[in-house]
Symmetry: C5
Subunit: 328 residues, 5 copies
């Protein structure tokens, strides 16, 4: 069974087989939006039998998780556009077919962006500025592209938070998260870069789009501008993530330094003191008899020497600036 919406003369109907064939038989412009969640071949059959699209394109429209691209067929255009989809839900991918007379969009499951397009298109009065199919394609691609901005904005905040966390307390969980973020960024780049190149090829006139007017190019230039900015952002974030990773390593090394200084201070104080107590704990007869027997020797040598050693060491540490420094 077909699931979808047929929009004609600013009105939406369910996309039943009869409705679609009536629209195809008519002469007015229409937009058919199909949900191929079932992936049971109904959509493919409709596209190949009733619309007569090229088998290669119909076959392509059956596969999701594709590289965004635009293909110029003899009598129609085929375009794949994708949005941000960090959870790999597959809900941010739309395949568009369009000719002079209609636009067909295929997606899977509840694609929130398409619903938004339908809302916005009702409010938009650009019919005089550009042909309706260009406007719809623009809105669909735009809705996809715009999903990246909030996503990257959250990403941006996360980088800052991570940097702050690392400076507070570097942990191994952060390393794992940094790697995951790099992966996510890499996924985003694989979807953004081809869309940017696609828009560049449309703007440069390398790809010829039906319904394109001087006025309509402005829409695609706008998309191109957004996509360049996105690609730049992704590259910047990749650079920043490397910086955060470097900060992690440097912070860990720095703290190691602090820990080691503490260990060295402890050892430098107590190893000499322990030596002294050991020295006066020996069983040499002469030592016990002569050196250790007077009462004053305990206070002067036993305690005084210890205190003197501590004072000298503290003075040394202070001179080197080891005291009063950071304590992790």
């Amino acid at each position: 069974m077909l699931i979808g919406t047929l929009r004609q003369n600013d009105a939406d109907q369910p996309a039943t087989s009869e409705n679609v064939q009536a629209a195809l038989g008519g002469t007015g412009f229409f937009w058919l939006d199909l949900d191929d969640e079932a992936a049971d071949g109904t959509v493919s059959e409709l596209l190949s039998v009733h619309f007569g699209f090229h088998p290669l394109a119909v076959e392509a429209a059956e596969k999701f998780n594709q590289r965004p691209r635009i293909d110029d067929y003899d009598n129609f255009m085929y375009l794949v556009t994708r949005g941000a989809d960090p959870e790999h839900s597959g809900q941010a991918e739309v395949h568009c077919f369009w000719t002079d007379r209609y636009v067909v969009t295929v997606h899977r499951g509840g694609c929130p962006a398409i619903q938004e397009v339908r809302n916005r298109i009702g409010r938009h009065h650009a019919s005089e500025a550009a042909s309706p199919q260009i406007v719809i394609v623009y809105f669909v691609v735009n809705a996809m592209v715009e999903t990246f901005f909030p996503f990257l904005s959250k990403f941006d905040d996360r980088i800052d938070a991570l940097e702050d966390d690392i400076l507070k307390q570097p942990t191994e969980a952060q390393l794992g998260e940094l790697f995951d973020m790099k992966r996510t960024l890499m996924d985003g780049r694989k979807v953004i870069a081809p869309q940017r190149d696609m828009m560049a090829s449309i703007n440069d006139g390398v790809t010829d789009v039906p319904g394109m007017t001087e006025n309509a190019t402005r829409y695609f230039r706008d998309l191109y501008d957004h996509l360049i900015r996105l690609a730049d952002l992704v590259d910047s974030y990749r650079d920043l993530l490397t910086s955060v990773m470097d900060t992690h390593l440097s912070t860990v090394s720095n703290r190691l330094n602090v820990v080691m200084k503490q260990l060295t201070i402890i050892a430098t104080i107590f190893l000499p003191l322990s030596f002294l107590t050991g020295f006066f704990g020996q069983n040499f007869a002469y030592e016990v008899r002569v050196w250790l027997s007077p009462t004053w020797s305990f206070f002067v040598v036993g305690i005084g020497l210890q205190l003197a050693a501590v004072v000298v060491l503290l003075w040394l540490f202070r001179r080197r600036g080891w005291l009063g420094g950071p304590t992790v």
Copy 2:
């Protein structure tokens, strides 16, 4: 209420609605500078109703924090230019509309650069060299571009100071600052690169600018030259920041080495000595009776052995160059 200045025939008037309409109704060249700080729609209304600019451009002029770009509309040009704005005050962004007859600039709040343009334009006698709108646009963009130079110069000094600080004493606060500097640089790059590309497209003739003469191209080539230099500087600083980060890590590692050498020296001296004192503190009857009872044994074995161990260890350390080295 409109806030702004209308400049006509080298004289400034407040930009009241009447003045603007009079200027529009006249035939002379004028420059209207608007302050849209209130963002209450007055400016937008003026631009769309009285000037009749394209809705897309008017809508764009309402949003600040935009990517610099130039858009070629049928009857006017729309240009966004930005300057250095490290505190995100939003005071370094100007939107320009211009036609053959007038220039309209829109900014928010006290934009110091615009005031400077007004001063300089009074002193400039280039009217014969280029059309007045090109001169104003040049001055506006130039004022924006020039804000980057003192900013980057301070940045440059800060990098050197940071490098010196790190070599003196590496801290974690420096890591945070390095990250912030990288961020700032990244923000700068996002504003400089598109302006450079914009000027390249004007110089190459890809973007057609009204009022452009052979003579006027020199102005834009000058801007292009400045922007290339800025972009190069930003890339160089990014490279230097990475070097500073590496210096931090290496310095920390180096100091760890010094600390560890100190710990090793202390341990290498006192662990053997403590062993000796421990050895002579044992309670073996034979040891106490025979080895430890003669007076000479205390001086020869108890003290002499200790001194001999210290001498040997110091000689070993000296041979390895561990003494007299850096002490953090």
Copy 3:
């Protein structure tokens, strides 16, 4: 003896000398697939004597492990295509010669991709869409290109697994594996990049291919699209491998920190305590006689002081957040 298959009119025959000469003498299209595993010159002789290919091309076809490329000879095309071959078995390299009338493919040993091409070509009905030689060359190159996808997919999983392993327990074996993976990636890049450039040169029309039609370009654009994606993947994985290497270093440094903290805690607790026991183990007559003789002094000084020291140290550690942290 010749080993191979001659395909004519959708039927396969063994590629005996007679069959090949009959096909050459005929006028129908044929595809000759040769297995040059013996490398005994039979294939070369056939190519140069009967087919009359240029000596340079025949000589090239004798050497395997070549850089993929396409060469335009006066009366035929010569193309080298390669697939994923991580074990260097040499089974993923095919050399193609083609003219208007026939295609000759040369490979070594059991090349599984060629067998798959034979299966697919039987099912494919593209004869009307493109000339048969283009279809065969497309299928051969495509079969090669597609071998990279499962290979890289495994690679992808391996990277993730390695990252997880490293975060669990970093070892030196992982470093060796990371290096091997970088090598493998480098090998893949050396084979993928030239094929991508080759397809670009065909698509841009720089290389003129016989039998090329508007429709046929779609096949090569498809290959180009795949190869760009592969090259992007390889670059992304290289980037990720560097991240994994950084994770390794950071994890090791982090664990060093944990180990050192533990050592410092142990030393900070037991060095002072040992000093105390040493202090009360001295043989000063006064100390033994006065300080150490009362019963309460053992409990208060000998045990109480120790406990107090432990309590103070634990309190210090807790304040610094050293207790309850990760224990590797």
Copy 4:
């Protein structure tokens, strides 16, 4: 007062105002070299009043420390060329104006390269090969470009010396020097890259140079070749400096390892031995009475156990290859 040299008909005269005006009034070719060290406006006045150069170019010639570039004015060319100037003395910057009839060069202070040009130009017999102004400009730029080679050659030696020093003994002073070298390289790059691009634009014909002939292009191609090589060198050195920095970090880490092994060896030997002496220094009545009283127990247990422990530990160390290794 004007300071400079006027060269006409292979003879040098001081550049007095009268001489310059006589030369300007004449018809022969001349080269005027001006030293603007005073920067008191005399030179600017001469250039704008007598030579009638465009105010923008005259203004530019007053500022030193400029980005090298070439500007094409209606009736003259303006070129800024710079050489190696690691001490920022400002003596390696020359501004050239030239037309069909004369060349004017402006520099500040004793510019050794200009003197050398004067010497070489006397010996050069290229008048038939290229127009005299091209020859002079070539010699001036060439003299500037050639100052980089000895400078970079010294730089090269310094990198090698630094690498050797670091492998001998890594210090923090080296880190500071590495950073300074990177800075110097960055300064060099900012001067070399624009000159290379300038020569490229001349060679490609993008910039139209008066007096250019087929033969003259050879001179500029030669300069271009030198500048490409310089830019490549600078990039290579930057790469090498990063390697040297990595070597520093790795060497420091390596030495830390050696130090820590030493500490571990010392601790592993003496902590168990000290435990043994401590054990036999206890005051348990049974231990003292039974275990420690026989004479043989001192030799067997007191000394023998210690020796056995040392032997076992040394055997362990040898098995791990810790003995006989590097000792910093």
Copy 5:
């Protein structure tokens, strides 16, 4: 005295002055190969006086250690080609002059590649395919280019061996070698990249070569292909060397971890035990009299407590996975 070989009509003669002048006076094609080891000006004189080459080219041919390049003079081509020369012997540099009628090659000392060219040229029957001067130039450049392959192949093996060595035992000598290898690679790149660009300019028709035919381009395309591959290899090796350096650092850090764990284990076992022995070695009267006097207290407290501590610590270590791990 001239040293060299004159090849005419497939026969070699010594390059005496008379022979060369006779060949020049004749009309047949000849190849003159000169050895300028003496560098006494004889060769330069011959080239400028008898051959009449441009002074700039003759001067260039006197200097060795040049950047490979091709220069197009009015009546001849001048080409510098270089091969692998890791020992800087200068024996892998050839300067070629060629016109329609002859080729002159200049090298210094025993250039093995030239001898090989002479051997191969006797066996080659390409006279019908391309003009003889193109064939000779091709063979000379090819001989130079091919010297890189065995060199880089050895380099490749060395990288692998180094990686294995580092994983076995990282040393500082390896760091020095890594740096030397990077240097060598940089030297190679400086020679390979310009030759690749040179071939690209010939293939693209930017540089016009006399004697070039459709057939002859195949030779240069072959060289271009080799040089691209070489440049790719050099870049890959540079990348791998960086990986090897990272492996070194990570391995050293890893081993430091192992050493520190060992130290921590030793300290964690023996510091508490030593504390216990110290505790029971105190001279508190009550302790000695009451706690330490019963026989069972020695076995239970003196020995039992020690064993219990060891057991608890070993259990702790096992739980953390510290036992049974790698021991360097």
